[in-house]
């Protein structure tokens, strides 16, 4: 399992005993990492394993409490991102570090050397972006771009600095499979030029395909090194999680019941200068099935969710029907009363009020639908009933917490998401709409959530899942529709859906309506 350390002269970066402590939490504990020249090195681990903390220390945006970093054999102190850039370390961030009100070219200019003439940057960026197969328009405002296009800017910006070590933090999570392929070609080309790459991803297939060696972290510690090409995805997953990870199972095939949610020709004007319009969307979800909506982030999925949940009203009442009732002009509570449940993408601040207790958050979302149970005469809150219900959800979803009834913000992302999903499931909704159910959730919790969604559908409810994670959609959906540029394709039954076909739709190869019959023939 261990790779022998490479000859010293060939190592670009050597990290020894790097430790970062936040309060009482050891986010990184005695981490060792060696990256050779001309290799693509994977850094693997679950959410919260300490990967991001480690690379932030390498890039100078966090200061280690202990440990040393050697760069080209010399001890180095990386005290700021500026120092890291001077050494030759470039980074593509997981959470974008772009400026929305500036153009792509201006964004790129900001990370180049001060003496670069500002007028030549647009042309340079355009040329480089095409040569790497990541085309972009330097004059466009970043705020207008999709998440995938923003990711391209991040990558181009990093490459223009010609760093010796490129750190990529989950770069493919917002790219279509085809765009990801282009990126891999680029990375392989850079490796051939002798550059080193530190590649963070939780997509194990990518890692096996691309990376020469891997370091695996768990709970802030390095737990192993390996050559990912000699491993299987499940053996890598086992090393990351420490135990076997079970995939969610579809025990029975979907039985399409009656239509419970239908969207008929819904359109929506863009709500703000940087948001996407919805264009003539048709969709029908029946009881018993899970429909997945794939798409690169920023193609209108958020707007679609807002329209279905009632955060944004439709012009016509018939645009959305929930259990046969026209709901297009109804607010959120009225739609919930029809039997629908909604889980938004953003957990803190949207799905839950961060500084309120779990029981209070439960009341916030269900005081109308379960008014009789939770609210007594004269509007008095029945705290006993709420506590009991909260406890029921916590047990059902295996929510792990440090206090009996903690504030929502005190829970880890995965546990809070389990609670929020459980809060809706507890009502036995006839229609369940979830946006990014397992975004940033660790593998164990994600499997639990997916299983719960499948079980809900099999019990006769209609489930609509919007997700950027294609593996997840393939795992749980009975059909997958794709959003691109505010349009929704026809749902493709799972038996006919391939990664390639979905990927093409995500890239907008054929807007909307692929005819599955024609393609089969």
């Amino acid at each position: 399992m261990d790779t022998t350390p490479l000859a010293n002269g060939r190592n670009l970066l050597e990290v020894r005993g790097l430790t970062k402590i936040f309060g009482t939490l050891k986010a990184c504990d005695q981490v060792d990492l060696t990256i050779a020249k001309g290799e693509i090195h994977a850094l693997l681990g679950e959410n919260g394993a300490g990967k991001s903390t480690l690379v932030k220390m390498l890039f100078g945006s966090l200061e280690p409490n202990a440990g040393e970093i050697h760069w080209n054999g010399q001890p180095a102190r990386i005290t700021s991102p500026g120092v890291a850039k001077k050494l030759g370390i470039g980074m593509v961030f997981q959470h974008f570090s772009l400026f929305e009100a500036l153009t792509a070219a201006e964004n790129i200019a900001l990370s180049l050397a001060d003496d670069t003439p500002i007028s030549t940057i647009a042309a340079k960026a355009r040329a480089l972006s095409y040569s790497y197969g990541l085309p972009l328009d330097p004059e466009s405002l970043v705020g207008d771009l999709s998440v995938g296009e923003r990711q391209r800017i991040e990558i181009i910006r990093c490459l223009l600095q010609t760093p010796d070590l490129i750190i990529l933090d989950e770069p493919t999570s917002v790219l279509t499979p085809q765009e990801a392929d282009k990126l891999f070609e680029t990375l392989e080309r850079l490796r051939a030029e002798g550059k080193s790459i530190l590649y963070i991803s939780h997509r194990l297939d990518e890692v096996r395909r691309l990376c020469d060696s891997a370091t695996i972290m768990r709970h802030g510690k390095v737990v192993g090194h390996c050559n990912p090409r000699l491993e299987t995805p499940s053996s890598l997953a086992r090393m990351m999680v420490g135990t076997e990870v079970k995939n969610a199972e579809r025990t029975t095939a979907a039985v399409r019941g009656e239509e419970l949610l239908s969207i008929c020709g819904m359109s929506r004007k863009p709500a703000g200068p940087f948001s996407m319009p919805l264009k003539n969307i048709w969709l029908s979800v029946a009881g018993g099935e899970v429909i997945g909506i794939a798409g690169v982030a920023g193609n209108g999925q958020g707007e679609l969710f807002e329209a279905i949940s009632g955060e944004a009203l439709q012009e016509s009442a018939d645009a959305i029907r929930i259990r046969g009732k026209s709901a297009g002009r109804m607010g959120i509570s009225a739609r919930r009363l029809l039997g629908a449940a909604f889980v938004p993408e953003e957990r803190l601040g949207h799905g839950a009020a961060p500084r309120m207790r779990l029981s209070e958050n439960l009341l916030l979302s269900r005081h109308t639908t379960d008014g009789k149970v939770f609210v007594g005469t004269g509007g008095m809150v029945k705290s006993g009933a709420i506590q009991k219900a909260a406890q029921r959800i916590i047990t059902a979803m295996d929510v792990r917490k440090s206090a009996p009834d903690p504030e929502a913000a005190a829970l880890s992302g995965g546990n809070l998401q389990k609670f929020i999903i459980g809060r809706e499931l507890d009502r036995n909704p006839a229609v369940m709409v979830v946006n990014q159910p397992t975004w940033g959730v660790d593998a164990g919790a994600a499997a639990r959530i997916r299983q719960a969604l499948i079980e809900l559908a099999r019990a006769g409810s209609a489930v609509l899942v919007i997700s950027q994670d294609l593996d997840e959609l393939f795992e749980i959906s009975d059909s997958i529709a794709v959003m691109h540029n505010g349009e929704l394709s026809k749902p493709i039954p799972i038996a006919e859906a391939t990664l390639e076909r979905i990927g093409l739709l995500m890239g907008g190869a054929e807007p909307g309506h692929l005819d599955p019959a024609k393609e089969v023939a």
Binding site: G60, S80, F99, D114
Partner: protein
Amino acid sequence: MFEGILITIATAATPLLIASVGELVVERSGVLNLGVEGMMVMGAVTGFGVALATGSPWLGVLAAIIVGALFSLLFGFLTLTLVTNQVATGLALTLLGLGLSGMLGESFVGQPGVKMDYIYIPVLTDLPLVGKLFFGQDPLFYVSLLLTAGVAYFLFRTRAGLTLRSIGDNHTSAHALGINVIGIRYLAVMFGGACAGLAGAYLSLVYTPQWIENMTAGRGWIALALVVFASWRPWRVLAGAYLFGAVSIGQLHAQALGIGVPSQLLSSLPYLATIVVLVLISRNRRLTMVNTPASLGRPFVPDR
């Protein structure tokens, strides 16, 4: 007569323009300094006092600029280094400036001040109709126009200006790129302070060469409002300042003519007209969003 009116309009607009352009730079860097009024009045008292003592209005101007910058440095230290609330600190700065200037200027009250001379260029200034307007005003009038042009060029044509705007848009990203967020904000805040000091000196050395307690009379607040309504664009600030100046002079003439409109209504006209016009030109929401510094007023503490 007509030329005279235009010149008085320019004189009314110039202090607003100088203070607004300074505050515009501060806000473009993401810092909201509500202490413009306080820095301005400190500039006014310093400029008056130094000019009185030395007999040189230019030394007064220089001293006002320095005091304005130092006063804003206090704001910078509190909000940028100690990360206090920007709104509260700015308000405190205004109160402090008004009080301190009243105390320092107690002995200046009623004293005849030193007036800055108007420019005189032979032949040009003597041109009929436009000579005085273009070639015969006070030097600071020309400084204010150059300042506006310079700031517009700096913000949108230079790399340093781009860096400054990037900090105002997203300080976390700027920090991640290795930009010294706090350092640049200090410079921007001090530039704003220097401009406010200069604007104050204009009041006590050009506009009305004497010291009256609280002589800024809310101009600092108008300057702040102009920046917002001009959607953080220098040339729009100029348009707003001149519009304000024009309507304030216009309503004075109207009052003098004794037209049958209550004087209170006429006095409020400059404010109303400026707000209406600037709201109209900034009604393009997209343009406003793009120009609004997204991290305006938000404290920045880098993680370490």
